[in-house]
Amino acid sequence: MRVVGGREPAKTWSLFGDVHKKPSEYEVVTAKLHYHYRRQPAPFELDPNTPINTWYHRYREGSALQADSWEDFRDPHQLTYRAYVEQQAAREAYLDNLIDEFERRNHDANLQREWVDELDRLYLPTRFPLHAFQMTALYVGQMAPCSFITNAAYFQAADELRRIQRVAYRAKSLALEHHPDLASSSYTRRRWEEDAVWQPLRETVEKMLIAYDWGEAFAVLNLVVKPIFDEIFNEQLAELARLNDDALVALILDDFVLDSQRSHDWTVKLVQYAVEQRPANAGLLRNWLDQWQPLAYQAMQRIVELYGQAPCAREPQAVLERVWVAHHAFLDRCGLGAQLEQANKVQDHEATPMATEMRKSGLDIIGDMATWGTHFCLFYETKEDRLDALMSYCKAGLEKDEFCLWVVAEPLTVEEATAALKQAVPNFDSYVADSRIEVIPANDFFLQGGKFDRRRVTDGLFAKLANVSRKGFTGVRLTGDTSWVTKNDWIPLCELEEGINEVIGNLPLAVLCAYSLASCGPYEILDAVRTHQFALVRRQGKWIVIETAGLKRAKAEINRLNDELEQRVVERTSELLKTSEALRATEAELTRVSRLTTMGELTASIAHEVNQPLTAITNNGSACLRLHANHNLDPEVLHRALEEIVADSTRASAVISRIRAFIKKTPAEKTLVNINDVIQEVLTLAGLELQKNKILVEQQLTNSLPLVRGDRVQLQQVVLNLIMNGVEAMTAVTDRPRVLRMQSRMNESGDVLVAIHDSGVGLGSEADHLFTPFFTTKPHGMGMGLPISRSVIEGHGGRLWAEPNISNGAVFSFTLPVANGSSS
């Protein structure tokens, strides 16, 4: 290629002439395909007013999401059609093989009826929302301003198609075993359209389908709906399936997680790109998040509740939290969750009431009140008392960057409250302008149509809390009057107060409820005191604190904890010292043992310890020979040399015997052993490892096998060694299920036979060397496992050998003679 000094574009790669480097395959097939973006006078060569032109113009060029140029965006996975197809074909082959394997075992027929019903409720209807995801992804791809984005969106759509297809396939399979309705799409559609739990999600996706602005469609799908529901429909449903012994569905859903991760990755990249291009895009995306999240969360809640009703299900709350956390972690990755993180930090810090930070209450008698998590009530006589108290409470909050909400009721009016605040608080107007304080009438907060509406209150409260992160406040300080309460509303109000007590511990919230002494009878006063952490009474210009039992208990608890803490520190220190001693001793022992058992160390050890005396012997002997050849050998000298030689030989043999003794250290204990028990024990031991490597274990153990005589521990080690070899042979396998089959039976010669089959890479050309000591194909292997296993088995009077498995992998088998005098 011509070297250019003057920045002329190169003659080849005309599309990339301005880039001055060779483009990748990905770039070549994906770049600059949307000739119609921002084309003048209209995207397509038609009358500018035809619907298609106006559509694109409005929802693409005119989208709220803008950038100077989208052409520098790149899919982090650099998927091209070729790469995508190749990759997914392998995944599909894996799933097909998986299904075959399970079909071979009659998996569907063995499913519990309750679980099948759950699948009917939970899993089969997902084809509908997934279809909406697919359509939206295609819309985003169609409308995207740049082909790099389009391709990523289209591949995402293809991923959804894959998922839907598998749901349909499962439906059909289940229908064949259980009842034909399962495969009827109109039957499943009825569930989707009529079951109450699905409706919020249905509303969400149907609204998503008509979010025509391409940026908004992208945001709703990839930032809200997909992250939440992928987590639910993949990870959470897989876990539920595993708990119900449906490994097939679990493994299928596990595979889709990979697809989801890809979509997360390109979404994160695109958001970062958009924000880099125009920082205002961050605010825009957050706005869309705020608009669409509530609906999506509602849908999430209903569906998770449904999950909670399935057999073996976890607590819905725990699942909800998982999903919420996953969603927010994803938003953090996109850079859209930073402020939320800060708020979370505040919450974690002050987890309990009466926590470390104290904040001004604005009321002298309280002095420094612990903040977040405080819920107390105030009894007042006159309007002035109330005004006085509540005002200083708000004032203190404003000075501390908190958001204050004052809900005013009879006989105070909003105007009076506002006027009082204006007088007491400097810069009051600017606070109002910043939305740092709100003074609203009770009608707008507590009541709905004149009646107390608890739902409205909690929604309102949570809305304000959500504002905290966004607007950068440190928390919410709420105070409300209760004078609107009627007899009928009293109990619901108390319930609300109790509800607040339950959650306030973890929120950046302080609540002060004002009760008029005049309108509270003794029972009401007792209720109010009971439902708050503590109470204040203002009477005749003086304040009195009423400690409730709750408060007293809390204080006592703190004192007790402080005392205990000191005690515990002392105990723990001595514990730690003891443990570290024990640990050090164990470590030393372990090092010693491992040094003598690992192959490399053993060789080095032997080599070194034996070499020294050998060298000395050689030197001494050769020296004598030389001197002798020169007739220079003094008998004294010879005598001394021979003494040295003998001493060194003794030393060398001592080393050898020490090593021999060590190897023989643990004498074998021979007892009567049931080989099936041994196999089960080892499978339990290796359970986690097997699960981690996605190994399917099949057991074909013959019942009532005769006992064998042997060392249980040694036999366990042999079985473990063979199983782990099988697992390692299968780690490279990704396109077919990893099956480990354990067989035990009698063979023709009347011995007990154990065979371990794997579907791994097989024996290959090294089959002859398998049992040779120090032969290994593993990069860090010692090559001692099989030879040792063989010598153990032979020591028990049996044989150990290997042969290839029928289709893939290998079979390792060993025999053991039946114990004399034992019966089945």
């Binding site: 005396p613 000395a616 001494n620 020296a623 060194d648």
Partner: protein
């Protein structure tokens, strides 16, 4: 080989040390033994030709570390490594750092003695070389600055006439300077002189 050559043996195993001393002394060499690298470092200032027979694995500073330390101190005693467990990287490292030989225990006695001999010869040759340089240096230092000027041009191939012209003196004066310089340098011919100057240049960065 009965000059004052010394072989220093360093090994942490007593029987190996004593047997090596025994073996090496059979060829008439003087041997001194040490049980650690640190001990050897303290005593290792040989005035006579010397070499080191060194085990790699020692308590404290290892044999390879000792090799590096000696190099850092500009001590060029040749080293013969012996070890109980050599691996290729270790031996390559030792050889690259200038060792004479790398033997694994147990070695043939002849191999060791040959290596020691080679090492001592190398040390002798080096000492000889150093002596020559020092001599040359001394001779060169005894030249006057005028003489040095003259021979630098002689060595560059200039004729006396040209040198006289350049320096602004008579040709005869140049001839005198030149012959005096050649005497002082003990050079028999111009070719000799050139060789000497080259040696000085490359080995002691005078010019």
């Amino acid at each position: 080989m009965t000059d004052t050559a010394v072989v220093f043996v360093v090994d942490d195993d007593a029987s190996v040390r004593s047997s090596l001393k025994f073996l090496i002394s059979t060829v008439g060499l003087h041997v001194e033994t040490f049980d650690s690298a640190e001990a050897a470092l303290q005593k290792l200032t040989p005035d006579a030709p010397a070499c080191l027979v060194l085990d790699v694995r020692l308590r404290g500073l290892s044999g390879l570390d000792l090799q590096a330390e000696l190099a850092a101190r500009n001590c060029q005693v040749p080293i013969v490594f012996i070890t109980g467990h050599g691996d290729i990287p270790m031996s390559v490292r030792a050889m690259k750092a200038g060792a004479v030989e790398f033997l694994t225990k147990p070695f043939r006695d002849q191999d060791l003695l040959d290596a020691v001999r080679v090492a001592l010869e190398r040390d002798r040759a080096r000492r000889q070389q150093e002596k020559e340089i020092t001599d040359l240096q001394q001779r060169f230092d005894s030249l006057t600055s005028r003489e040095r000027e003259v021979i630098s041009m002689v060595v560059a191939g200039k004729l006396n006439k040209q040198i006289a012209d350049q320096l602004g003196t008579a040709e005869n004066t140049i001839k005198v300077h030149r012959s005096r310089a050649m005497d002082k340098m003990h050079a028999q011919s111009v070719a000799d002189l050139v060789r000497m100057i080259e040696k000085l240049k490359s080995l002691s960065n005078v010019y």
